[in-house]
């Protein structure tokens, strides 16, 4: 995909102001090297291959896809935790690719990240208060020690924790509380964008719902933009304004949340939606399911043409030769499928 194929103006959201985050044609590759002394590249995993999207202030973009689709790699590239092979990432109009670490620091203040594993992402030797207070310290956001303590207490209260818990260590918290702690740390430096990478996936359903409500409250309160990454389409649809569906390193469909459920265009999106059972036995037993054949191919050797054609129920010969570009079928819906136009939506 070339930059011209998706022009920035054609991809922006309904809001007229320029987007907070604008990702264009992003590619992240991981070379696989062999050899003991002289290492040569034997293969290359195109984990993310030509991904473009925008996020406006206060908006939630959901990024959904199965394992190996490149969701997390995309998120890490946005916050510059891995080095993209090409493309552009503009945050508040500033290009991030090529920035040095010290140049990146003030930008990182404006981006928070919450990870899936609340156990693994909190330092077990730090007290909760220090974990939450660290971003304040790093970015020099507090004037005095008492101000520091006060801000920590108010952050803990904001995420629904008792300020007295600041003295405790992460192992004294439950899974849900740890995720609240992770969120408190992510919002400590007053960011404009939160990247939530499978942030609720490891939690029990009742705790998951509590955290989703908290995220909704925080968004309203601070006008945060979210890049919400998850494999669970029902959760993504619940929180997102718009959704981008990824498959093997590419975005295959983007749409407004409600449109994606009501009229999914890409056969992969349709299969994903049909694979998720709803908690209603009457509805569920009358529904026909699209069952995809086989497993997703390895990103190391993606199939030629459309990457989905090996599992696609409607693929034709052309699909194994032509890699479809993301094209707009509606002002706010785009799909990368050769057949999506004349294809009747199932069900």
């Amino acid at each position: 995909m070339t930059v011209e194929a998706v022009r920035p103006d054609s991809f922006s959201t309904s809001e007229s102001d320029s987007p907070l985050l604008s990702v264009r044609d992003l590619s992240v590759h991981f070379p696989i090297k062999r050899g003991l002394i002289v290492q040569r590249e034997v293969a290359r995993v195109r984990a993310v291959d030509g991904v473009s999207f925008d996020i406006s202030a206060g908006e939630t973009l959901g990024l959904v896809g199965e394992s190996g689709s490149g969701k997390t790699t995309t998120a890490k590239a946005v916050i510059q935790l891995n080095k993209p092979a090409g493309g552009s990432i503009a945050f508040e109009g500033q290009e991030l690719i090529g920035l040095s670490n010290s140049q990146m620091r003030p930008v990182r203040r404006k981006m928070g990240m919450v990870f899936q594993d609340p156990y693994g992402s909190l330092n077990p030797r730090m007290r909760a208060g220090d974990i939450v207070g660290e971003p304040l310290k790093v970015h020099g956001l507090t004037d005095s020690k008492s101000d520091h303590q006060q801000q920590i207490a108010s952050l803990l209260t904001t995420v629904g924790l008792n300020p007295a818990m600041a003295e405790r260590y992460p192992n004294e918290f439950s899974g849900g509380q740890r995720q609240r702690l992770g969120i408190a740390r992510a919002i400590a430096a007053r960011p404009d964008l939160l990247i939530l990478d499978e942030a609720v996936s490891a939690l029990d359903v009742s705790i998951q719902a509590q955290i989703l409500n908290l995220l909704q409250d925080l968004q309203e309160k601070y006008r945060l933009a979210y890049l919400f990454i998850a494999h669970d389409l029902s959760v993504v649809r619940h929180v997102s304004d718009r959704i981008a569906v990824m498959y093997l390193g590419k975005i295959v469909e983007t749409a407004q949340s409600k449109d994606l459920y009501e009229r999914p265009l890409h056969p992969y999106t349709q299969a994903l939606l049909s694979a998720i059972p709803t908690p209603d036995p009457v509805l569920e037993r009358s529904r026909t399911r699209i069952i995809l054949r086989g497993d997703a191919p390895s990103p190391l050797s993606p199939p030629p043409g459309c990457r989905f054609h090996t599992r696609c129920p409607i693929a034709t010969e052309r699909c194994s030769a032509v890699d479809p570009e993301l094209r707009f079928t509606e002002p706010d819906q785009s799909v990368a499928c050769l057949l999506a136009d004349g294809y009747e939506v199932a069900e």
Partner: protein, 279 residues
């Protein structure tokens, strides 16, 4: 399955009747015969339930030898048939593969092949698809459902996913803190839930078929520590309907108006609240 390690696990009381026999009273050798032959089980993590240093073929032929006395090339033929039955292509060649050469979905298919190899009467699937991607999850569940109905095997699905139960289960038990709190047919429980925990679970999950994506209505608080359960109903500290009686007495399963059995003193109030919230 008689797999609770002892110590520390101790089955204090009760009975587990399988074909009329109490599995808690039989010897280890007799139990060995029930496992595989009578009851097959599939676990969540196929990578850790399969032996990494044995070929797939060996792992499928082992129960055939132990339980059915089929060995040699006949066992291999049967193993290939089983692999084909669970949808693994080119089964002959695959017999010599090792677990690490298979994808997560394929490993779970092999687990199903092993569990069904001796045609058990009951298959227990413990979070068998939880670790899989949704499209693979759908494949595996359809496979399990189709195979068990073909073979006439009973299927017990253990999962936290309410959608899977709604689609595949005829009857369900809702468990909380070690006890069954609500039990009945899928229609009874999903359409007219009468235990506040069941209602809370159903209100906690975002649903794809709901166009209004407002706020979720989760259960407050956290799962109790099983070491320090309070007296009375274990769900009472998180319950909106709790009364003084709930703090003192443990409710027993009783038949509710909509047909299912519920362990809750306030089940009528719960059912009424659900009905009025829906209308």
């Amino acid at each position: 399955m008689g797999l609770v390690p002892n110590p520390p696990g101790l089955i204090e009381q009760g009975e587990v009747l399988f074909e009329g026999r109490d599995l808690l009273k039989i010897s280890d050798t007799e139990m060995q015969d029930v496992r595989g032959n009578g009851i097959g089980m599939i676990f969540q993590e196929p990578m850790s339930s399969l032996n990494p240093v044995l070929s797939i073929g060996r792992q499928i032929t082992e129960p055939l030898e132990v339980h059915l006395g089929i060995g040699g090339s006949r066992a291999l033929d049967r193993a290939a048939e089983l692999l084909e039955m669970v949808g693994i292509g080119d089964p002959r060649r695959r017999l010599s593969d090792y677990p690490h050469q298979l994808s997560g979905g394929q490993r779970q298919r092999v687990m199903i092949a092993i569990a069904l190899s001796c045609e058990p009467k009951l298959l227990i699937a413990d979070e068998a698809t939880t670790a899989l991607d949704v499209t693979i999850q759908a494949q595996i569940l359809e496979l399990m459902k189709n195979l068990t109905s073909q073979l006439g095997t009973a299927l017990m699905i253990i999962t936290h996913n309410l959608g899977i139960i709604a689609r595949y289960a005829d009857r369900l038990n809702v468990m909380y803190a070690g006890k069954i709190r609500e039990t009945g047919s899928a229609e009874e429980v999903y359409l007219n839930p009468a235990h506040p925990y069941t209602v809370g679970l159903l209100n906690s999950v975002p649903r794809l078929d709901q166009t209004e994506s407002g706020r979720l209505d989760p259960i407050e608080g956290e799962i109790p520590d099983l070491l320090n359960l309070l007296s009375g109903c274990a769900f009472q500290p998180r319950c909106r309907f709790a009364t003084d009686a709930c703090k003192k007495l443990e409710p027993m399963l009783e038949t509710a108006a909509s047909g299912q059995r519920v362990a809750c003193f306030e089940s009528q109030a719960v059912a009424n609240a659900v009905a009025s919230a829906r209308s």
